[in-house]
């Protein structure tokens, strides 16, 4: 069964003598004990190898702890964050007031700590809303195609055509005021972004040979979507979602600034930033510290997102 055309003894003998049957020997450094881990265990291990991701994760966990503690036991705060004392207004940072005081004489440090509750809730919940709806819509549109795709994506286009803050205001007008309504409005507004990203990713993954292979094997649609398509789409979703958390915090700030989100006594970073803006020259600390809180939190989420994306990619994974 040889042909003079392909069977070339010289070529064959170079690497493996009889390559079609003999598996190469395991080199010493490879041990069979190299255990089959699940996708998530592998990911977690790989995530722990990234310093930036771990620092970000610790910081975010710290924020969560702060949010919970200040909600359960507000007495740990140095001052009552809602207590006005006009005689103390615009105190610069000092040993008494680490971050200074605002126009109403409230302690900014306490307010920043309390603000963690609202900012984290807004960020996580609204992204959860847009993720859940956006990913589902995008996945259905991309996977089904045809009329379903056209209808879903044209609706998404309509939502994209209106500036998001305007749309959020419209939602708020319909839903009423309040931070819970703001969360829903912000969540709804960013649905199209997720839907678009997921759809385009699914379109490309759907065409790939390994999805065809899964179909030949006999996998049903559900298995194909969850085992083959979504894991390969996940990285872009994760990165978008971490950016979305920061965007949601800023959107909530904007709504608060317009008087639609949080209502005045409540402490929210964006709202504090907006109010401090008026006194930027007299009391820069009134906006610097809430601004820093937003920046660092947003950065932490983005870096964590980066780390998770790398950890999910077998090629970038450290072993």
């Amino acid at each position: 069964m040889t042909t003079e055309l392909i069977d070339d003894d010289v070529l064959l003998s170079e690497d493996e003598p009889n390559p079609s049957s003999v598996p190469p020997e395991a080199p010493d450094y490879e041990h069979a004990a190299q255990k089959p881990e699940s996708l998530w265990k592998d990911m977690w291990y790989s995530l722990t190898q990234s310093k930036t991701a771990m620092v970000s994760l610790v910081f975010i966990l710290l924020l969560v702890v702060i949010a919970i503690v200040t909600a359960v036991a507000p007495q740990v705060l140095p001052y009552n964050p809602y207590q006005q004392d006009l005689s103390q207004s615009f105190q610069p940072p000092s040993m008494q007031h680490w971050f200074g005081t605002d126009q109403q004489g409230r302690d900014i440090f306490s307010r920043v700590l309390v603000g963690t509750q609202i900012s984290l809730t807004v960020g996580l919940l609204s992204v959860a809303i847009s993720l859940a709806i956006g990913v589902t819509l995008g996945a259905v549109a991309g996977y089904k195609g045809g009329v379903v795709d056209t209808v879903i994506m044209r609706v998404m286009d309509m939502m994209l055509a209106i500036p998001s803050i305007l749309l959020a205001i419209a939602f708020m007008a319909a839903l009423g005021q309040g931070i819970d309504k703001a969360i829903v409005a912000i969540g709804l507004v960013s649905i199209p972004e997720y839907a678009r990203i997921v759809r385009s990713q699914i379109l490309s993954v759907k065409q790939s040979d390994y999805v065809a292979a899964a179909r030949v094997i006999g996998d049903n649609d559900f298995t194909i979507i969850f085992r083959h398509v979504l894991p390969n789409v996940l990285p872009s979703i994760i990165v978008r979602a971490t950016l979305g958390i920061s965007g949601a915090i800023l959107d909530a700030a904007a709504l608060g600034f317009l008087g639609l989100g949080v209502q005045p006594p409540a402490a929210e970073w964006g709202d504090m930033l907006g109010r401090g803006r008026n006194y930027i020259f007299q009391a820069p600390y009134a906006m610097i510290f809430p601004g820093l809180a937003i920046t660092v939190t947003v950065l932490a989420f983005n870096l964590l997102g980066d780390g998770v994306r790398d950890a999910l990619d077998p090629k970038a994974r450290k072993r």
């Binding site: 055309l5 030949v216 006999g218 090629k315």
Partner: protein
């Protein structure tokens, strides 16, 4: 047993929509596969050859159920599987597996080799969970991969190793028929031979039947028992390997055979150089599909498509040049004459020209 047909393809046709108007109504079609019939016997390797775009991969995809035929039947073990509802179809699909052309795209980059090979076993509930591991090891060993590699990801492997993984995955469900869709055309030549040998060994060990798709006759020669030659969606010639390689009847087959490169640089050969390009499959020629490039054309070729019929024993060809009911000796002589007339001396280092390129037939545009 050997002559029993495992799969029979009857008048299989597939057309794709090439253009559609504003309302989504198709206005023109690509005839990817046009009225193709052949059968594969149990335990046989059937090679399907043709240049890019001739529809050979489309046939493969229809056999494994990735594409739905526009018309025609696929009869697998006596049952028409094109008519089955999707669910039942899937059950039969288990018996027909596919090896992909591109080993880089056909493995999910986020699954380990073990997961990839185990997946078909799990999906089809072939083995209890505790036996899967051992089976995966056995399959990997069978295709020449060591089991210590099984927790690696596809990107850690070379093309040839990945193709072995693809083969192991196809074997996992104990298929009866494997459609090999150009399994070696993405690999280096040295690796090609290894993978071909592997496929050949597996066929003997496991009693598999292959539909082996390739774009060159040299690859198919190694592995096939019978070969079908396709051109622009149609089967031009079906013959046992030896018959096809030694007495090709169809002019297109003759040209394909003469295009196989020779490893001997000093060999003086005559080649048939075809002129022009393959016509567009959107609006294929009315008569013989090959008529526009054929060097042995007669008047009838432009008028009606020749029908695929048995010209020599077991040797089918679709060509107007061969008369019905003529004797085998006449046919062979005619085939040789057609070939001889078209062949031009070319190639190799003759005494005079050192860098000789193929000499193009007079009047041809392409160099």
């Amino acid at each position: 047993m050997a002559s029993e047909n495992l799969i029979e393809v009857q008048h299989l046709t597939k057309s794709f929509v090439a253009e559609s108007n504003f309302f989504g109504k198709p206005t023109s079609f690509v005839q990817a596969v046009d009225d193709v019939s052949f059968s594969i016997r149990r335990g046989e390797a059937f090679g399907l050859v043709g240049e890019s775009g001739c529809g050979k991969s489309t046939i493969g995809k229809m056999l494994v159920g990735l594409l739905k035929p526009t018309s025609g039947k696929i009869i697998f073990e006596g049952k028409d599987i094109t008519a089955l509802p999707v669910k039942e179809r899937r059950r039969y699909c288990r018996d027909i597996q596919l090896i992909f052309q591109d080993p880089y795209a056909s493995l999910n980059p986020r699954m380990t080799i073990a997961q990839i090979v185990a997946e078909p076993i799990r999906t089809n509930n072939i083995l209890p969970a505790d036996k899967i591991d051992a089976r995966v090891d056995e399959l990997l060993e069978r295709v020449g991969l060591a089991s210590y590699m099984k927790n690696r990801y596809p990107h850690e492997f070379s093309g040839g190793q990945r193709q072995r993984v693809g083969i192991a995955r196809a074997l996992a469900v104990n298929p009866k028929l494997i459609v090999c869709d150009e399994p070696v055309s993405a690999l280096d030549v040295s690796i090609q031979a290894q993978v071909l040998n592997l496929l050949d060994d597996l066929k003997d060990q496991l009693g598999l039947t292959y539909l082996f798709i390739a774009h060159g006759l040299n690859v198919v020669k190694h592995i096939s028992d019978r070969v079908g030659v396709m051109y622009l969606g149609r089967l031009m010639e079906i013959a046992p390997k030896n018959s096809l390689y030694h007495e090709p009847l169809c002019p297109y087959t003759q040209a394909l055979l003469s295009a196989i490169p020779s490893p001997d640089p000093h060999l003086q050969r005559k080649r048939i150089i075809l002129e022009g390009d393959v016509p567009s499959p959107i609006d294929p020629p009315a008569g013989c599909r090959f008529a526009s490039r054929c060097f042995a054309k007669v008047g009838a070729c432009d008028v009606a498509a020749p029908e695929l019929r048995e010209i020599l024993p077991d040797h089918l060809c679709a060509c107007h040049r061969y008369e019905k009911n003529s004797g085998a000796a006449d046919v062979r002589k005619l085939a040789r004459d057609i070939q001889y007339d078209a062949a031009r001396p070319s190639y190799g280092r003759g005494a005079k020209d050192v860098n000789a390129d193929p000499v193009v037939a007079p009047g041809a545009k392409k160099a």
